[in-house]
Amino acid sequence: MGMTITEKILAKHSSKSLVEPGQIIECEVGIVLGNDITAPIAINEFEKLDVKDVFDRDKIVLVPDHFTPNKDIKSAQQVRQIREFARKYNIKHFYETGRAGIEHAFLPEQGIVTAGDCVVGADSHTCAYGALGAFSTGVGSTDMAGTMITGKTWFKVPHSMKFIYYGKLNKWVYGKDLILYTIGKIGVEGARYRAMEFTGEVISSLPMEQRLTMCNMAIEAGAKSGIIEPDKITEEYLKNRSKRKPIFYFSDKDSKYVEQVEIDTSKIEPQVSFPHLPENAKKVSEASGIEIDQVFIGSCTNGWLSDLRIAAEILKGRKISPNVRCIVIPSTPEIYKQALKEGLIEIFINADAVFSTPTCGPCLGGHMGILAEGERAVSTSNRNFVGRMGHPESEVYLASPAVAAASAITGRITSPEEVL
């Protein structure tokens, strides 16, 4: 019987010739990741065990990105703990504020993760790297600690679920809309414990940044991982970037999927997910007219250069509604620099937006734009749970950078078509 790309990567990293869904296996991990919220607990657990060293100082990645530049004393203490740990064990991949980007944009961009890898990260959106053709999944801090010691962790091999996207892609429809639509179709637990494999002609021509957006949100359907078979686009992206040699795996023709979902993308309009679950996806036309107080363009989902370019295209020569605060945050310092070079930052500032250094910030209601009671935001991030961006009685509508930028101009949820 054939294996899916996910099963093949797991088999390889557990030194088996065959694995099957449901089987519990122990895998060698290529990269283990933590951030300023999750790594401190992992370090506490690590230290309880009184071990002399980490399993491999080159395979641990520590990225303070959530509450950085540190918003208060307690979060500064947390980063200090990570910094001291990194120094003590000579961790190669520790990145200070100013050099660090949001982890799930930063790791692919810097070539720290690559095709064929088995990655665990103490952050749920670690599933993003599936876009590179890696098996990659989120775990908690104790799992991170265990992996830092042993270099291994256990997995239950997930069932794979195949998504086939066909048809043409409408104007103003992006990877973000495809994934919101998909989660809307299957629900927030529609892929629980499973691997979502995104395929089809639409995916084959989807640029890497949008693939990363899609895999990033696999967790919002409850999935263990999201994955896309590597191809020319993957190869091109990894070239001169990947620090290790990529290994390409492909699903066998006769591999088994527990479910197959076919999606005709020509029927998909720009999407907006209503509060308080990502599955509440609707067409932007059904949302138009909803008044908003804030727009956030950024996060590990949509703070890519291509996202900023789209937002800038819409905001160029226009002004943000006087009733709206618009916050734009590039995901990494590289994106920041490129945005500067291309004149995007000037466009944002001229439109009256805030432009910040890379940070998760508002995405998780951390800092840099918290919502007050009763306020409403359009956000390009991945979650709109109760209280996600601030007061428990605030509301978050998820959308693409195009819809977010258009909405910033009118002060209500708006299709880009309407302003251009």
Binding site: V51, K74, D123, V139, G140, T142, D143, T150, K224, G365
Partner: protein
């Protein structure tokens, strides 16, 4: 071990942001986290609930972020056990890893109400709803997970088995 307590019932998709909102994640201290457990799902929860009580959830309990602060806050408050129809996978792993007892049982969740008195006999895998005089047999964990649970969590298991 026998756990006894009153149950507090929540719905489907209880996410880690409502279990412990991000605004409190600048600490890892279980006691501090416990002061805000379930705050955005029920503001009064910490005032109403007591140590030893049980949380009941619907489908996909603990979905969302990987923050271990969620099960830590629940355990830190002294909640004896979480029983849900199903758990989101990272929450599930985290709970096992830190030794927070969790049980999956749709039947139990459907037939229990907030305020019911419960008894859980962990060694026998039995839950009793004392208020409703009903008894449920709990599905066993795979052997490998049971080994981690029996050792009191992942780090103790690593200490014993791996080092």
């Amino acid at each position: 071990m026998v756990l006894r307590g009153k149950c507090w019932k929540f719905g489907d998709n209880i996410d880690t942001d409502v279990i412990i909102p991000a605004r409190y994640l600048n600490t890892t201290n279980p006691n501090e986290l416990a002061l805000h457990v379930m705050e955005d799902a029920d503001k009064e929860f910490v005032k109403k609930a007591s140590k030893g009580d049980i949380i009941i959830g619907g489908n996909n309990f603990g979905c969302g972020s990987s923050r271990e602060h969620a099960p830590i806050a629940i355990k830190g408050f002294g909640i004896a056990c979480v029983i849900a129809k199903s758990f989101a996978r990272i929450f599930f792993r985290n709970a096992i890893n830190i030794g927070l007892p969790i049980i999956e049982s749709s039947e139990f969740v459907d037939e229990s109400d907030e305020g019911d008195e419960m008894e859980i006999i962990t060694d026998e895998g039995i839950i009793k709803n004392i208020s409703k005089q009903k008894e449920y047999k709990v599905r066993e964990f795979p052997q490998f997970l049971q080994e981690i649970i029996d050792n009191g969590g992942l780090m103790n298991w690593i200490r014993k088995v791996k080092l």
